[in-house]
């Protein structure tokens, strides 16, 4: 009489779920990236497709090959590897040799994620680890920016894309083959990014170019306007914590504004905000939930930290761009921030004492 009814499922409460899943969130971010991908293709032609695709393949293949989860590859389903690949691709220059892009994807997942134990365990943003690896391994290739418009035709490809792995050279037969299929291949004419221009003596790019993306730079970082729009949409969909980009941008604006007031030779706050990878980094990379603080107060600290480091590196460091290192450094500080910036528990003071 008191036996168990065998058909009844015993599952712990709650019995309702919101129905939003982690792959769904990843898909949200991917959709939020889609306009940037399209813009990259518009600005840089077929090269952009190739770079993005190669990065993604590198990332997913590594996830499949190295992840210990059984059945093998089940961790691909959460979509994070694809996202990492796309974001990595968007912060690479369009003319990067494809073998390097592939290697970047491998490093991003291998060094950036799986080494720490997989999704959710990683300390650093995987895409940025991949990017930092490439920057350290192939500093020339990754800082060779090509100006938009050097290739007028969509199908025209950058010759450097086709370098044979481990070299910077394309065999003649391949060159002929490529020209037969895609039309003329072009050698990269390198061009400085707006930030490098201003850092190493030169004129600033016009603002509307910065806004619309008509400058040299990484695939995804050039069109400021698009990033802002996508960022606002994602923030309203609560795909990421709006506090992080907002605090980064405000800090950069404030810090560089103060410097600019005293020294008009330094770039203006607006220029700082719109140029380089700042917007892209603030919206798509600093907001990676795994590697940024979880609590709201922590998010503010994180954002302010990133902003300050960006300004420090850009104005006084040896590099023209500092967003990548700023985010990586604050990633490293995230566990610490999480420790000191826990939410104030209900009925308690901020230090966790029972409130009187």
């Amino acid at each position: 009489m008191t036996k168990r009814d065998p058909h009844l499922l015993l599952q712990a409460a709650p019995f309702l779920r919101r129905g939003i899943t982690t792959p769904g969130l990843m898909m949200d971010v991917l959709l939020g990236l889609a306009p940037l991908v399209l813009a990259a293709i518009y600005f840089f032609g077929l090269s952009a497709v190739l770079v993005l695709l190669t990065c993604t393949i590198g990332a997913v293949a590594t996830e499949w090959a190295l992840s210990p989860a059984r059945p093998r590859g089940s961790s691909i389903k959460d979509g994070s590897a694809i996202l990492t690949g796309i974001i990595l691709g968007l912060c690479l220059p369009p003319a990067i040799p494809l073998w390097m892009a592939f290697l970047g994807g491998v490093a991003a997942i291998g060094l950036g994620k799986l080494m720490f134990g997989g999704l959710g365990q990683n300390l650093f943003n995987p895409a940025l680890v991949g990017r930092a690896f490439l920057q350290a391994a192939f500093p020339t290739a990754i800082t060779t920016w090509s100006q938009q418009g050097t290739i007028t035709e969509f199908w025209g490809l950058r010759l450097s894309s086709w370098y044979v792995p481990f070299t910077h050279w394309v065999p003649d037969w391949l060159r002929i083959l490529l020209e037969g299929v895609f039309g003329p291949q072009v050698d990269v004419i390198s061009s400085a990014t707006p930030l490098a221009f201003i850092k190493f003596g030169g004129e600033a790019a016009p603002f509307n170019n910065l806004l619309l993306g008509n400058t040299a730079g990484s695939l995804g970082e050039t069109c400021a306007l698009l990033i802002i729009i996508c960022g606002i949409i994602l923030a309203f969909r609560r795909t990421f914590d709006w506090r992080i980009p907002v605090s980064i941008l405000l800090t950069v604006a404030a810090a560089s504004g103060i410097v600019w007031l005293f020294n008009h030779d330094s770039p203006s706050p607006l220029y700082m905000l719109l140029s380089g990878g700042l917007l892209f980094g603030a919206v798509y990379m600093a907001t990676d939930p795994v590697t940024s603080p979880i609590a709201p107060r922590g998010a503010w600290i994180f954002g302010i930290g990133v902003g300050l480091i960006v300004v420090l590196i850009r104005l006084w460091g040896g590099l023209p761009e500092g967003v990548m290192y700023a985010i990586l450094l604050m990633n490293a500080a995230t566990p610490l921030i999480d420790r000191i910036a826990q939410p104030r528990a209900f009925g308690r003071t901020i230090t966790g004492e029972v409130s009187a």
């Binding site: 712990a12 409460a13 709650p14 019995f15 309702l16 779920r17 979880i294 029972v354």
Partner: protein
């Protein structure tokens, strides 16, 4: 009209789909008497009661069958006229075997309630009043089944400044409190008035969420002029029915962690409790039956039912048409309820609903790695860090969990509801709490 249009609320929390449309318009029906009733001696928090009858003895509906086993314990009454068939272990809804009194209903009885006449509550001293509440067998009917009279025993230096009647019913599917407020508004208000008067409360507030406008109107109309009872509207949000959240929402005050509402001179009661209290003092009828909602996709004829306490769930389900596809039966609400392993368990004093879910309606959450998205932090009304709790619980780091105030968790399940990675956070927290308790028991 004194109704506020803009409701108050607390920070954080979640908005689950309400699913109340199935039953919220259905008037309360009376459930026919079952053949057998099972009365666990412990249907409340605290010491179980002691049987006051022998096997084979005839009992009348409303007759005392169990005497309280201490102050934090309740009197138990027979829900039916019949014969004591057995006293012994029976299955409790939580799965364990507990001592119960089993009563066989007399099919030919008229089921008159053995009542004393109405109690003249106005002349009672506070202590006598408390004794009467205990004798009425009243427990908190929102789900936790905390003995009501214990709440009225005010400690030294505290007084009941504000009486708060909880009519939020924030759990999805459940509509029994809603129907009680609509149909028994007079009695609810009367009960509130009795408690407010006896405890000497300055004011009494009935908090109702904005999705029950008819209940608000009915209550408002039932409040006699010149009393300081008012109806307050609240935004719809889960877990607003948790008393600490409700106090925060209505008064903006936080009950200190680990303390009771009484520390803010507030007493909180459920509307169902007020109805039963009024029944006792006006008609001498103890708590022998309650209103519960039977709903969910697995039920053919959803209903709000007045069910005698002790009725087997199987009978209730049969009455409402449990369909073939049902895969899960839950006692209570879908957020905090108890999954039933067997239908041969009784309805308790604290049972607010019986829900049946079919295969399609069960949320099978596939589990992914936690990406620290922070959704659970935004869901937690207690401002804890559930993501961290789950992580620590998985690692067995109990001490750190205690430092992270795991004891403050009310297990409302909002974190788990919202988690995109399908981590069973609240389940892990419950397990951790049990482990911590065990460790402490061992240590002492």
């Amino acid at each position: 009209m004194s109704l506020q249009v803009m409701g108050k609320t607390f920070r954080h929390g979640v908005h689950p789909e309400e699913h109340k449309e199935q039953t919220e318009q259905l008037p309360i029906q009376r459930m026919p008497f079952a053949d057998r009733f099972v009365l666990p001696l412990s249907q409340h928090l605290g010491a179980p009661c002691k049987p006051a009858v022998n096997v084979g003895q005839r009992v009348q509906r409303g007759q005392v069958v169990g005497e309280p086993g201490g102050f934090v314990s309740m009197t138990l009454h027979s829900p039916v006229t019949g014969r004591v068939a057995a006293i012994g272990p029976r299955r409790h809804p939580n799965g364990s075997l507990v001592p119960c009194i089993e009563i066989e209903a007399d099919p030919y009885s008229t089921q008159e309630i053995a009542t004393s006449p109405a109690v003249d509550w106005e002349s009672l001293s506070l202590d006598d009043f408390i004794l009467h509440v205990q004798k009425a067998g009243l427990v908190g009917m929102g789900g936790a089944a905390f003995p009501t009279h214990v709440k009225y025993k005010l400690p030294e230096g505290r007084r009941c400044q504000r009486l708060l009647i909880n009519g939020c019913e924030c759990e999805p599917y459940l509509t029994c409190d809603h129907r009680v407020m609509v149909e028994y508004a007079q009695a609810v208000v009367r009960g509130t008035q009795i408690v407010a008067t006896k405890l000497g409360a300055d004011s009494a507030t009935i908090g109702v969420e904005l999705n029950k406008p008819d209940a608000m109107l009915a209550l408002d109309a039932a409040i006699p002029a010149g009393t300081n009872i008012r109806v307050a509207s609240l935004k719809v949000k889960y877990p607003q029915g948790a008393e600490k959240m409700l106090i925060k929402a209505l008064f903006g005050e936080e009950v200190p962690a680990g303390k009771l509402p009484l520390d803010l001179n507030i007493v909180v009661n459920n509307v169902g409790t007020m109805l039963s209290l009024a029944d006792y003092f006006d008609h001498g009828k103890p708590l022998i039956e309650r209103v519960l909602t039977v709903a969910g996709p697995g039920i053919d004829r959803p209903a709000n039912l007045m069910v005698p306490v002790g009725t087997p769930v199987r009978d209730v389900m049969r009455h409402c048409g449990l369909n073939e596809e049902t895969r899960q039966v839950v006692m209570g609400g879908p957020m905090m309820g108890q999954p039933l392993a067997s239908l041969d368990v009784p309805v308790l004093k604290g049972t607010s609903g019986l829900l049946a879910f079919t295969d399609e309606s069960i949320s099978h959450a596939e589990e992914y790695a936690c990406v620290r998205c922070g959704q659970c932090l935004e869901a937690c009304g207690n401002f804890l860090n559930p993501s961290r709790m789950a992580r620590l619980a998985r690692a067995g780091r109990w001490e750190e969990m205690e430092n992270a105030h795991v004891a403050d968790c009310v297990e409302c399940g909002a974190c788990t509801y919202t988690c995109p990675s399908g981590v069973p956070i609240v389940h892990l927290i419950r397990a951790a709490k049990a482990a911590i308790r065990q460790g402490k028991a061992k240590a002492s």
